[in-house]
């Protein structure tokens, strides 16, 4: 097990190095200068040059890269040019709203999708089934920004029921935390809900055609009990696979929704940093997300091996 973990960690290093070089080059080749953004348009070329020097932006690009990557190996992702705060601190502050939003979006998606999928399967071929699947298709087709704007107009501006912008941390109370998350979570979770609803329907239909279900039905088991106790539990496997596989995309895919709802999460941090040409933050966030994915996959593989004894991680 230990040698497997070591191998996985070592194999991640070249991936991270390649990612770091690519992102560093892309960012530095892009036109735009953080010093100009910080000083404002009325700054003189001399002032810009002076700030570039103090930020180390006038150094040759390879020197800037090595200086940055040396810091990364010591756990220092650098300092934001614009915010003057350590990049790790910016990431730590921004990841909280993003993860809260992703979890809430996932919960909403499940609450909508599972009942719809089960009902559609149960009423297969009926008007209700078609309606629900059209609804699911709509959910998959409608862009999240459009849905977000429509929700804002209806529930925020017209009805005034829910806040339309901002984020309140859990420390201010669960209710207010959720109030601010409802609309963005629905916008973000709609595509998920549509996907899960379709998967639930087809998965339950598949199970319903199996012999043990037919046998249970012949024995007089009631429909409600048949669906929930016998069919749904076995149909759950592919549904949960979809849920798990797409959850990561909720975190990285929240950029648009965070912008519309002004949520200070990772997506907003990246967008703002690109607009400010805050190279340190952009490369830090990209590297962080890469590490997060690699790390989680590694943990999952390790735990998987521990839970399922048939999997032998050391072999092969």
């Amino acid at each position: 097990m230990l040698s497997y973990i070591m191998k996985r960690i070592l194999s991640a290093i070249p991936v991270l190095l390649v990612v770091s070089i690519v992102i560093f080059l892309i960012i530095h080749i892009t036109p735009g200068n953080p010093a100009s953004v910080i000083l404002g348009e009325e700054a003189t070329p001399e002032q810009i040059a002076e700030l570039e020097e103090s930020l180390g932006l006038n150094l040759p690009i390879h020197q800037q890269y090595f200086s940055w990557i040396a810091g990364v190996f010591q756990g220092d992702l650098g300092t934001s040019y614009f915010m003057k705060a350590p990049v790790t601190e910016s990431i730590a502050n921004s990841i909280v709203p993003t993860i809260s939003l992703a979890i809430f979006a996932q919960i909403i998606a499940l609450l909508i999708a599972i009942p719809i999928g089960v009902l559609a399967a149960n009423k297969r071929g009926s008007f209700a089934d078609s309606s629900m699947m059209v609804f699911a298709l709509l959910g998959m087709s409608i862009p999240s920004f459009l849905l977000a704007l429509l929700l804002v107009l209806l529930f925020g501006v017209q009805l005034g029921w829910l806040p339309v912008a901002g984020f309140r941390p859990l420390s201010e109370g669960l209710l207010i935390h959720l109030q601010y998350l409802i609309l963005p979570a629905i916008s973000l979770g709609a595509i998920q809900a549509a996907l899960i609803a379709r998967m639930t329907r087809s998965s339950i239909l598949e199970v319903l055609n199996m012999n043990y279900i037919k046998s249970a039905r012949a024995k007089g088991v009631k429909n409600f009990s048949l669906i929930l106790k016998h069919a749904f539990r076995n149909a759950l496997l592919p549904i949960l696979t979809v849920v798990g596989q797409t959850f990561g995309t909720l975190i990285t895919g929240a950029v648009v929704v965070e912008t519309v709802f002004n949520i200070p999460g990772i997506g907003q941090l990246v967008i703002n940093s690109i607009e400010r040409r805050d190279f340190a933050v952009i490369q830090g966030v990209v590297l962080f997300i890469t590490v997060l994915y690699i790390f989680l996959n590694l943990i999952i593989d390790i735990l998987y091996g521990m839970i399922d004894p048939r999997v032998r991680l050391d072999r092969k």
Partner: protein, 528 residues
Amino acid sequence: MKLKRSFLALFLFAALAFLFAACDGGEETDADGSGESEGTEGSQTGGTLNIALNAQPPTLDPVVTTSTASRDTARMMFESLLVLNSEYEPTPLLAEEVENDNNQNFTFHLREGIMFHNGEEMTAEDVVASMNRWKENENQASEIIGDNEFEEVDEYTVSLELDEPSSLIMGIMAIAGQFGAIMPKDIAENAGPDGVTEYVGTGPYEFVEWAQDNYIHFQRFEDYQPLDEEPDGLAGARTAPVDEIYFYIAPDSSTRLAGIQSGEYDLAYQLPFDSYQQLMETDLKVEPSLAGDMILQYNSADGLFSDPKMRQAVNAALNIDEILQASLVDPEIYTMGANLMEDENVQWATDAGEEYYNQNDEELARQLLDEAGYDGEEVKIVTTRDYQHYYDSSVVIQEQLENLGMNVSLEVYDWPSLTDLVQDESAWHMRVNGYTFRPNPTQVLYLQPTTAGVGQDDRADELMDSIAEADTEEEARASWEEMQEYVWSEYLPGTKLGRYSHLYVMADYVDGFVYSNGGIFWNISVNK
């Protein structure tokens, strides 16, 4: 296998979320506003004012940046010796009185008993350290003051001696943008090139917290000593009626719009021009505030447009009514005219050269193009959609010039790329850009050869020098009238298209908003 991986992934994310959420607690700082409704002038209404700001300031130190977001937030807590009143006249704020000896020797008598937010009293040594730091950072101050320095005369008196008289220096010291923020001596002296990080001023509100990309929080400074004068622009009494002010950073204009309509914010910055009519039909208060000039800037430093005839030809051809209707949408929120300084600026406002504004004369334009020897060369307009009115204006200008037979292309960039690109004077010919009002003409950026794309012109230099070196205000004004006439008739580093407003919108219970070189929030009350 996939199932279990998914379960585990979900579990790990959930665990992470709770971990982060737990770490997040306690970050919020409680302001000590306490809802107390008595105090300064008996005008405090209490409550909180939530403002949707359009951009995060790069710093809250106004001395090192010209960013308007920094200006508007920093001046809640920092003050300067002099400020501009509504007619752009330098007026004492932290100075009690200024003795001006022939525009060359200045003595500033400071107000006594002015407290910093850290509880210490402001004295001459703080002012000297702050002002000497400011003059190193502000270009024009640095040029005029040179190696001279502000000096302490006694505990409440500061002096400044110039080598030559300058009729401009008082106005520059009162500048609203990159202003001379007075802060404690040790903070000013230890400031780095990218500004201070400890925000201690003398203003009516004190700094509480800055949650990056989220909000900036101020609370009333209870020991603030307001002037006993009526508010007038940036001058006069600052009363701090509300307990707390939050500037929420909301860069997306549709978010600010929805936020003010739904009551999430009490006041919103710079809403889109095309929302004006829609907003006028609501209960919200809409305050279009003239904020600056939209200029078609020519690259007079290099290429085709270094020939003044080319610039004059384009200027002659433009139908400015059409351009402004397409970009600034509603005549209620823009104005037209040749005056290059703010209309209320009594010292400098003039209509000299107005016959050259909005000529819309194709025949003259063709004649000037012939004289310039234009032969269908490509003319490149560079623009951005980050400021929609720049883009919309550019599209109309392109069409008008193509109708004239010119070969015009439009290149669109994001804002940071564009600001970088225009530094390369071989890469563009024209661009539309906004310039905020400046207190005196020598600070107008598109007239300065230090600005990218502005070519050297001996006559313009001479006239600008005579403004800067004038002994009296009258002499300076006469030179400026001559300069503005020359700008319109021959020099034309840019064509002023029109004067644009920023749309400030607030709830009907918000009173006391004033716009003067940016929004002023210290006299706003919330009367819910």
